[in-house]
Amino acid sequence: MAELGRIYLRLIGARARSQLEYRASLVLQIFASALLTLLDFVMILVLFENVPELDGWTVQQVALLYGIAGISFALTDLIVGHLDLFPQMIRDGTFDQILVRPLPSLLQVVASDFSLRRIGKILQAVAVLIVALAAADIEWTLGRAAMVPLAVVSGTLIYTGVWIALATIAFWIVDAIEFVNAFTYGGNFLSAYPITIFGRWLRNLVLFVIPIAFVAYLPALYILDKPDELGLPEALQYASPFVAVLTVLVARLVWENAVRHYRSAGG
């Protein structure tokens, strides 16, 4: 396991160094990608220009959701965002090469890129989170302070697991990868809002099937000490780390199962 970790770091280190060769271009791309992601937050600000709160949540509290979800998603995007291009590996046969190498296929696919420009997304979300934590009027305890980084780590693992598990659809339908975007980009978009505003079917989906509600909403209830309108067990507010580990394990199973059933185009 430690050996695999070392190999992973070497592989992405090489990817990162090659991008650092074009410094000016990289800086501009980091800036541009930060701005593009910030648009979702601009939407929140424009909405709150017109109303004081959204289903009982103030703009500071919604910004907290956005910050936690945004950092988690940006980290995920840095680690596995290139799964968007995974169907291409199947189409052009690169994936067959991966299968004959003596390393786990998932590791090789994940290590196949590491886009430093995505750091821009992380930076803008960190900025929003810092402002939100300062402005949201939180009664700090040790537990609440610890929950912020814990939620970010758990959120990253949850998004990563979801992304990997859904990307396996490319083994069966090569050109349908945009379907995954609904739950990755879409999942991140909805994480910035209290899930109480969404329809019941959607709430149940993100609570029990694709556990995106554990990224920001449930930890934020605990951090902000807000009453849970859905009447869920209080334990769920601390459950994100367990859900995260579970999601990653399930994703690995799904991936391995999909690879076992993979038939390359070459027969």
């Binding site: 939407m43 004081p52 959204l54 879409g186 505003i197 329809g199």
Partner: protein, 265 residues
Amino acid sequence: MRLDWELARRGYRRYAAYPGATAAGLFTNVFFGLLIAYILLAVFDQTSNIGGYDVGDALAYVWLAQGLLSVVASYGPSWSELALRVRSGDVATDLYRPVDLQRALFAQDVGRAGYQVIWRAVPQFVLGAILFDITAPADALVLLAFCLSVCIAIVVSFAIRFLVNLSAFWLLDYRGPMLLVLTVAHLFSGLIVPLTFFPEPLGDILRALPFAAMLQTPIDIWVGEPLGGSTVGALLLQVFWAVALVLSGRLVLAAGTQKLVVQGG
């Protein structure tokens, strides 16, 4: 004209070749539409009118915008395809073909837009209209003006993307500038949030800019809230931007070609 038609058909068929991608895109589009609709319903729980939009108008905005975003290519390869050809030098081949480059690309883009109207915009709009109580156009004339406005929006969108692509004649790395224009286009076209939701006078200023002519103008016409209260005025402004942007594209292409010739390709 026959050539234009053939090019448009090729543009259509290029997208028709991937029905799986269309279905997946449609699914994602509808999912985002649902999310935004729920968010705006929560907003209109607290208020009944924002910048002239009531809740039915806002829901119409959601499904029209989600439908139109593929039609006016808010995302997609057309933002950088020509730029890549400029960078690789392939554009030289394009330029000595006996057809006008801008016109040929526009014909292909019309084919692309037509495909998106039929297979993306209409199906997801119908679904949205069934699920939610959205504002219908006041009369047949409004519907006609809306359709006309969508056609002009396609021209405006094409002209903006053409200009962005041409920046590759002068910039070694076109990706940074492209992402910046894309960001501005998303926000100022009304894709992220209706421009009428911005505080005044910012909202009206944004609605007068060319980006609004890509998306916000047709939607404003549909819900009966055109800029300045006049549908004809809104259409004329849109036509003005279309003409100005297409002509700028021609001038910039001429300048870029000149540079290409001087440098010997």
